[in-house]
Subunit: 269 residues, 6 copies
């Protein structure tokens, strides 16, 4: 809640001088948040909590994770027009950004699910807004992946430029017995080496479909229980060709960095 | 700087457990931020300040606002590998999001400029990150428009649902003599009424090209000095047809809500 | 509210050790905030919100902007004596400082209004408390002027020491199409130059009454619609002689830097 | 420092749009803070720290506590004109408010000192700015009195409306052995009762000069070592008649609530 | 409350992923905080406030300061199982740490009280958690001693290494007339010197029982009203031998740095 | 650093009134932090950073993790006596609390290591100070275990009171593919059930040595690679009897809730 209020402060400053001057006195009003594009809804819980904090009555007509179509109302608000207009933009920004991410996630997840594959996010999130973007990924049916650098080990190419792979994995396994160890690899040989050293997960980064296919088959032969993640440049255009290879996970920055916001507006009356 | 450090805290938490465990001791390293897509750079000043705060040596190879091409290095860093790897994601997220916005802004501005039109942003920004997104718009050559609800008056349809237009403008003009008064209108008649009541700017919202053309010509006839802003659904696809009408300003949420991030990575070595 | 609570923390620290030790058990009490000087009330809304946050029942007997006389009660509080005594000083400080400003503003505004002139504040406010001081100016009937350095352009003598006036105005007009441009001038010639370059407002700074009279007349002749602000050393003693010249605005630091607090106290019983 | 930076943020917001647009490029400049009224300087340490934080070179020409006259320069700054102009108002507000308090304190203290009396402040300070106002009192030669409700016991009339005086003092003495116990009294009898119960200090509140004279003489006869504080409505007009009675302390809200700011300005070049 | 919420944020981060995933839907549950060791309870008020902030119904079965035995329930909670499990650890940590301190304080205070001696804490508290530890000392029947470096003067050996004792006391007495002055001494001679110079309290630091006895007797002879504090290495093992000497105060870091937490757990059902 | 500064603010408030008044002018001094008990050092990095932030010169004589003996100096400071004395308590509190934890951890770890067992902490940490306590555990050679509720799944008895074990594990495995799933069990049967359902770790909670022995042997037979954690009431008294059973991990709240602080002091000169 404290964070949501900081968003309001960011938008409002010393006050909504338009509404403050234009409305002679405060009136009661009724309004709806209406969706203008087809998509998957996220941020309803946050929007509700924020509106209610300012003593507005809220009725949610759609829930996080629901598919919505243009013209559909998702939230109905009733109460002070001054509060409503003051909060309009923050509420819409929350809903639009989060729903945009949920929509992109769902689109990829729908394809991936047909092959038993899970879609996951990355740490490519807007600075200061990660919690909400990770929530939106979950709402869209994706796995949030790491929240921070402290909740799982992920050894990447830049680490391997400095330390030999096997040694890196052995050291990482001492980072904490409650942490999984994942290694980003550039070829199948590295993947086998990582798993041999005890890695829990291997991430095949920037593999072509063909390379990925061969690598997955090789890994599965030697380590049938290994968790395999594919990553790097995956978008709606190529998701199916990768999902078809049945890795465990496909992670992609696209759902946060490539997804457009889902357009909505607030309609009084 | 305080805000940049909060972004680091968001990403790092209790520490970068990968780098902390994998690197036996801290080594000195050298790295470059390399662009992977054509675009316009933004966020270099912020990235530099952040990296230097952690005692890394930074050499900027490109400046905010410069056009960059795949493979080009924009920043060179030298110093502790541990600090570098810990900051990698935050620095890239700042640069990628801000450059994505600057790129989209520049693309539209390049078209608009040919007709003497200025591109402006909106308040559709990621909650908590507005300052940086407004900066990116400016870097891309756009006008940031309002920062907050307290720096200019903008009477919108939701206000006009509650108060008569002329009355609203007259009241708004008392909000503060240092503030401009803008009115969002749905037709040319409203625009004339707003200007007659003393509005400084009229925003033609969601007008078709034809409607906009007729409205602008009508307004110019009666109020040759009026500032006219076009808004609503403007994207790279239709920018030229609107710019050709020579309004003063075209504002669009697209540059923040529709723009993909500009891909970059950190390369050690 | 968060800010008001910070004020309480500033005054209370680890606790009100007097009330905590002296009152054996918490008692219910009733108290009134009583005015001890004639003036204009401000801060009632803030005082009420704060008292209610600590579960006290509040009845406001006077409203922000009302004239009050010695002995009049403005707020009536009922509930825990411990909370009441703990909040006493913060509530009084808010009311006394804000009412002092509102009173000074009203006194000047009453004179100015007779000549159709608006009184405005400045950025000379107590660090950390500006929002409340600007609110008090508005309650007293004044124009708050700029909130911050980001909401309007004001080119001052120190800028003109570095950049030529006409050039400065032309550059400033590009700062944002939603911003007004004001120029502080030292003589009538500069004023005309500023308006010619497109300034929205000219501020005649530290003009004698005679100088101001001549300057206003000259400016009005060439730019009948120009907004003219007088500033510099204006107090209750000389306000009428300046107001009589009918500038649009008279701004003065006096209402925040010269105004005494309006004395009040909390009376139990 | 963190607090000083918050003051800058309050004044600057997203940026100094005037200086940012008007100065084509950043220039080096030299400026002085010049006093425009006779008074006592305070806030120099804070101003210096703030200016240096933004990489400006500072030379202090006068120190906290020094008497200054119109035209005298107190601080000399050299470096980026952009930073200088951005910080101008905050620096001046700090210096002007603090010096105004120091000046008023010194004026009263100069009189009081002739009779061996100490001038003390109260908790009537601007919310959020107390630390700086207490510092200014000290710089002016006054005793800051309580910082907060947690550092000394002060039993006031509102407490005595709820608990019998002797009992109140006995309870208060258990609040902490490191705390002094002071009692605000309305007549000499109460003062004797308080001291008998073990109070360390008695405050004679709102006594006429005659009443104070009789009370002090009575108290001194019975409790020669008692610390006696006079309070209530003391201003430059009546300070001498009270100081002449030789209480230990005279406390007054006047130095924070009645003192005008000491005018200063920043002069470039 | 704000501080309690920061503790929750510290423990929860982005969410309780266990409860969030394991509980299919939120259920209503009932739980009790049960004590597992004999001791004195503290932190109940804080625990209640925190649980109620998350809309849980709380019934307190024991109060702060009560003696509790293994198996006894101290708080009963009813409501959302998700909230309850999310808050479990923070609530227990507050109660266990605070009760551990209250228990240790009470044990010492029970002995000291028999000799009319008061037990006091020190500033040896966990960084960031002092308010709660000082509260626990008070709940256990101890005197909190100084909260901070600004609420009383305590001249220690390190000061006396730099300034002569008598001079130090004389200077300190000017720190503020509402502050007591205490001096830490290493022998009886210093104590007499301090009192002669006007100190309110002397602290005999690290005296053996014999030394303390002789010093107290000497001090009492010359300064019968002096407040005498014993400090340094006092634990449950030696408390009685020191208390028997009837100083006014015995202060000890043991109650915060040597006390084990009082074990408790949350039991559902 | 920001957090360390908050600790200073907590201790200092408006200023160190003792040092401020007693030292006539600031002097340069030299001091050492000296250990008074045998133990393992932690917090040196934090102490150094804090002291250097206030422009003191620091030479570290011992490093985090080193064994220290009474009389040994661990840090040498040189510079302003005022700063040194102001920071003394915070620096000592950090070092003493952290070293107390490191010492207790090392004592248990030394025993455990002989059997190849790792000692781990818990979430029983002082509210607001967890980061530093987890760091101290690591310095002492222990595994920090979970930082927060969001970095690993740990299904406890309270969860199992609401959901069937197998089902709970299956749901938990969907919490995120980068997270491990641990289950706290009350008997060997539950352990086998948890592992069968896919748990990564089982925690045998509050098992007697005999029960633990049988359970471990049973589990190892069926799941030779299972990670087994023992927990509940483990202290220096019984550690060896449990360690001998060769679980993978022994976790214990004792190292944070039962460990006394390691005594140290600052010696000037």
């Amino acid at each position: 809640m404290e964070e949501l209020l900081r968003f309001v402060e960011e938008d409002v400053g010393y006050g909504d001088i338009t509404t403050g001057s234009v409305l002679g006195e405060d009136r009661s009003a009724c309004a709806q948040v209406v969706v203008k594009q087809k998509g998957v809804l996220a941020g309803v819980a946050e929007a509700k909590a924020l509106l209610e904090h300012f003593a507005l009555n809220v009725r949610t007509l759609k829930r996080d994770g629901e598919e919505v179509s243009p013209g559909e109302a998702v939230v109905e608000v009733e109460g002070s027009a001054v509060s409503m207009l003051m909060l309009e933009r923050v509420v819409l920004n929350l809903l639009m950004r989060m729903s945009g991410i949920a929509t992109a996630t769902r689109r990829l997840a729908d394809v991936a699910k047909r092959y038993g594959v899970v879609i996951a996010g990355t740490r490519k999130t807007t600075p200061g807004f990660r919690y909400f973007e990770k929530r939106a990924i979950a709402v869209g049916g994706g796995d949030p992946h790491r929240f921070r650098l402290d909740d799982a080990v992920l050894i990447k190419d830049n680490h391997l430029a400095l330390v030999e792979l096997g040694e890196a994995v052995r050291r990482a396994k001492k980072a904490g017995f409650t942490r999984k160890v994942e290694v980003e690899v550039g070829n199948a040989g590295q993947a086998l080496e990582a798993l041999k050293a005890g890695a829990d997960i291997v991430m095949l980064d920037n593999f072509s479909v063909g390379e990925a296919e061969r690598a997955i088959s090789l890994i599965r032969r030697h380590y049938p229980d290994a968790v395999i993640e594919l990553s790097g440049g995956i978008t709606p255009d190529n998701i199916e060709s990768y999902a078809r290879l049945r890795p465990d996970i496909i992670s992609t920055g696209y759902i946060t960095t490539g997804a457009a916001w889902l357009d909505m507006s607030l309609r009084l009356g």
